[in-house]
Structure formats: structure tokens, C-alpha cells
């Protein structure tokens, strides 16, 4: 294998490992990798792409819901439940954890908590770090 290719493979392996070490990914992601083979060589990529699309739609819906006063906690909870499901299915561990925290705030009817979680900064700064995007 060409030297550059080997370096790239090593880099990818390092990045992949760090995603696990830092808690961004869990064993469900490994399960997805195991489902990929020569007959379905792009399976993981396809699923992750679906997830990113889902996320974009979810963040939009969440934004809308957070604009309302008073907050509709049951709508917020339902959105979070769905998103938590998606993130769990691909092994996006940190995202899943954040969803759980958010839902806890919803259950406690904690407006401030919900707002803080997403923060006005997100709208301006782009992907929210706390969601690990």
C-alpha cells in the first residue's frame, strides 16, 4: 500500500479511536460497522448521512419550539425523544446523553434549563458543541 495511503489509514484510525475515547461514539457504532460488507460497502456512511439530515431537521423544529412562550414542554420532550432515538441508533453517545439531560429539564418544566442547554450562541455560532456536532 502506498505510503500516503498508509498514513491516511493511520490518521483515520486515530481519529476514530479518539471519538470512542472521548465518549462521542459507543458500541452501537461498532455494530453498524459490523453490518457493513462488500455487498453494502457504504452502509455506515449512509446511516450517518441520514442522521445528519435528521439532525438538521430536528434542530430547526427545536428552534421553532423554543421561540414559543410559554414553552410547550410536551412538544419539546417528544422532539427530544425522537432525536435521542436516532442518536442512540447510530451510537452517538454524547448527543444521546445531552438529549436525556434536556428531557430532564422538560420534565421539571425548567424553561431556563432548556434554553441554557441550547443557548442563543448556537444560532449564531453554528453547530452546538454541547451536542457534539
Amino acid at each position: 500500500m502506498e505510503r500516503n495511503q498508509m498514513q491516511m489509514h493511520r490518521q483515520i484510525a486515530t481519529i476514530r479511536k479518539s471519538l470512542f475515547d472521548q465518549g462521542y461514539l459507543d458500541e452501537q457504532f461498532v455494530q453498524l460497522e459490523e453490518l457493513q460488507d462488500n455487498s453494502n460497502p457504504n452502509f455506515v456512511e449512509e446511516v450517518v448521512t441520514l442522521f445528519y439530515r435528521d439532525s438538521a431537521r430536528f434542530l430547526y423544529n427545536l428552534d421553532q419550539a423554543l421561540e414559543k412562550r410559554p414553552l410547550d414542554f410536551s412538544r419539546l420532550d417528544s422532539l427530544m425523544h425522537q432525536f435521542k432515538g436516532s442518536s442512540s441508533s447510530i451510537g452517538a453517545k454524547k448527543v444521546k446523553i445531552e438529549c436525556t439531560h434536556f428531557r430532564d429539564y422538560c420534565n421539571a418544566r425548567n424553561t431556563e434549563g432548556c434554553q441554557d442547554k441550547l443557548g442563543p450562541s448556537r444560532r449564531h455560532a453554528g453547530p452546538d458543541k454541547s451536542f457534539g456536532f
Binding site: Q31, K84, G85, S86
Partner: protein, 195 residues
Amino acid sequence: METINLCCDHITSPISKELHVLAVDDSNIDRKVIERLLKVSSFKVTVVDSGSRALQYLGLEEDNNSSQFDDLKVNLIMTDYSMPGMTGFELLKKIKNSSTLKEIPVVIMSSENILTRIDSCLEEGAEDYLLKPVKLSDVRRLKDSILKSEGAEIRRIQSHKRKRNNDRLPSSVACHDLSVPPPSPQQPTPKLARL
């Protein structure tokens, strides 16, 4: 020989074909993953996004007593619990209350580990309750248990038929231990237990 034909009707065994699973989930990601999990485990898969579509597929439309039903024969239904519209639990109840569908095993999938929920699903006749995310090991275990019960069902049907035919025929030509219907050459040899 005529006698053998009388006694041993060739039963189309689902074991010698791929088992057909109908998977129901409103999440596109989960649909994609469950489809792959099932295909990798050698199931034939049909995926739909709602309980009502599932019922449509199963031919439970009010005005439709689908004659195509046999071709579509579903051996297992796997459904998400939390879905908008008809929940997985409601779908389970509809299936178990249907004379044509109640024999089909139904498995519930859910991200929530709630004992009361699990209990009510099992009480309502669910075969199993799987926690999401569903894994390959869950699907394999499910397959083993479905194959076992299908095998048992076929043995039961065959032994019932043998008994009925033996009662009709003079004892000199009654069948004895014709346990395995000759496998059709086009179909893959069943991996599982001998019938």
C-alpha cells in the same frame, strides 16, 4: 405411490424458504438499521413506516380479503413501540385480535426499559420485547426461537395429518415415520432441525 401421496401431503415449509419479516418503525434511521440487521441474518424483509401501513400490507383493509396473502406470508412482525398515530402496542392488539393474523409472532422494539410496558406487551401476546438499539445478537436469538416454533408447528400439523390418514386407511397401508417431505430441488436445504 398413491398411498404416500394420500398420507404425506407436501407441506410448503417456511423453514426451507427465507423467513419473511415485516418491520414497522417511524424513524428512517431505525428502518434502515433494522432492515440491514435482518438481511444480514438471512431474513426476507419488508419495512413500513406506520401501523396502518403494516395492516394494509397484511391485508387487513376493511374491504380487502387479499388473495395475494399467501405469497406475502409474513413469518414475523417487528414493530417500534412509540409511533405517532397507531402505537406498536395498538398494532399488536389489532394483530392478536385478527383471526387471520393472530398466529404471526409480534416483537416489540423500544428504547424505554419500562417494566409495566414490557408486561402489558407480553400479556397482550408479544413474542418478545427488545430494547433499542437492536443488535445482531438480538436478531439471531429471535431467529432461533421463531424457527423452533415454526418447526414445532409443522411437526404438529404433520403428525395430526398422519394420524387422520391412519384412521382412514386400513392398517396395512398406514404411514409410518415419513418424517421429512422431500425437499424441492430449487430450494436451499433447510439448515434447521429435521422435521
